[in-house]
Symmetry: C2
Subunit: 332 residues, 2 copies
Amino acid sequence: MTKNISDIAQMAGVAKSTVSRYLNGGSVSVKTKQKLERITREAGYVPNTFAQSLKAKRTNLIGTIVPRLDSFAAAQTMTGIDEELRTAGGRMLVYNAGQDRQREIEAMQDLARQKVAGIILMPAQVTDGHLRAAEAAGIPVLLVGQGNDRLHSLVYDDYGAGRLMGRHVLDMGHRRIAYLGVTEDDEAVGRLRKEGFRAAAEECPDCEIRYYESSFAIGDARAAAEKILDEHAPSLIVCATDNIALGVVKTAHVRGLSIPSQLSVTGFGGYEVTAIINPELTTVRFPYYEAGRLAARSILKLTAGEDVRRSTVMDVEMLSRESVDNLNIPFV
Amino acid sequence: MTKNISDIAQMAGVAKSTVSRYLNGGSVSVKTKQKLERITREAGYVPNTFAQSLKAKRTNLIGTIVPRLDSFAAAQTMTGIDEELRTAGGRMLVYNAGQDRQREIEAMQDLARQKVAGIILMPAQVTDGHLRAAEAAGIPVLLVGQGNDRLHSLVYDDYGAGRLMGRHVLDMGHRRIAYLGVTEDDEAVGRLRKEGFRAAAEECPDCEIRYYESSFAIGDARAAAEKILDEHAPSLIVCATDNIALGVVKTAHVRGLSIPSQLSVTGFGGYEVTAIINPELTTVRFPYYEAGRLAARSILKLTAGEDVRRSTVMDVEMLSRESVDNLNIPFV
DNA sequence: CCTCAAACCGGAACCGGTTCCGATTGCATT
DNA sequence: AATGCAATCGGAACCGGTTCCGGTTTGAGG
């Protein structure tokens, strides 16, 4: 049914090496070029990718490992990767690790044996297992969202984001604050954001700040919020992600607390929904989409053997909106 | 560096055909089986996927074409597909069509030449171009979310969803209603949901229902809501998707209309966020995740040459929540 | 110990391309 | 017309597996 290069060669009365050369822009006379142009078109010939890859020992596939598919950050990043890859003739092979570190490692191994050209990994945490797998893969691996000395990485300025947020809420006059973070195993989201926030908070001696922890799940965030409100009763809760903030907002509503007058809430991420809900959520925008594009460009360069900066930091942007009360304005 | 089957054969002192047989469960003596077990393990041998695919003329890859990556429906469906595929040793190759019909078709062509085993397509609309491309691909194509006689499909009961919603809002006493839909080019979301709603509405002679149209974008939905409120001033707006509903809710907030007492709003989809916002959105849940799993199972069967029902309809579920006012309750 | 089928194994062909190398061709120069 | 060089081309090897086919072993049964 579908024709191979030998069929084409036979139809054209040339050797298949000539056809291959024609296809790949080698030296072919004008006459045979025209003939082959016509014949390949009429026969609807398309080269077999396996055979090409078998010989070339590589594909145009870029493996992308995401912690989960249904997250704003992952979706935006994937969109960026996909778009950039497409323009370069590359394809994106998506792996969903389902928030499981072990599956991230398995995914790398599996992708390596599928001989993808490179891997873009969005890990929650970089363990020794990750490093070993990355090394064993024998192909470029680019980390997105988490940094590591031993691998190329593209990170967000999580520390800066934390500090920006810290300054902002202090500026707004808040002093009794809860920081609802995630596990420090997550270097970027768990540790750096908190450290950044803490750095800003330390400039404020009369602050009463308590640190809490939740998972990324909205349900857990709601439970954590209950606890915070009971124990600490802060005027503001800084949440390590927009999703967690959404959970806190929900709890506030359930308790009948109005935002921001009775409770201020902030997030990190800049998810689309934060601009839709009422009141709009104060947060820090992370350039996920742009990071995806840059990640794709970088991994392509790496697979081409070109040089790429070992670590790149993406800037973030403070989005001051309605969910933080300004306590500086005196009552009228 | 990495060993191939000939290396292994040489190390074991057997022919490579024997190694291949061992790997694929052919008839091999216990002795050589043990020897090969040891050697392949020690050498860390992994078969080259290209060579296998070249011979087998097929991959374990399933192409998945989504209209966009950053939509709840797509994310849930992909998660389901990925999970089910993984258990069967399959992999998901994701294509983002970016809401572009032409790119959906190109994606099919491209996937076909990458020799994926099958394609799961989530189209906004099935055109002749789609059908032609699906036929030309020469591999099974499964439609999700949109039906078509000529292809296998997995659809939601959009008509039933529309009717459920229609009945529900009428039951709640609403009579002056706006239906904010999308283009009828989208058979499922645009036409069927509306028809289902209309069927329910026709049982109500004293209703004043007007039909409007928007795109899927929140921004457009907000603009449409403005228009609806100005022109028709309904007590309730039925939106064709949860995202559109979110836009309408936003407009209501901006206008200072309280939901549901001054304006009721409903959506379709059952997105996670609808349970988080305040008030919670009344909507119809679509089983996206389950559909993804079923889609994966079906496409695998199809690629294995097994029989699959030409069309399967997934049931939906009414989620009656807070965003619809009950007008039946008399004032006290 | 012989016979014979079943189990096991090796060799070679094949999948569909790419690439190297050497041979042929074409064309411009003398 | 002979020469030289570059452009073009064909043949064969190769990538790393799978599978067919035929030959050799094995072991059970007589």
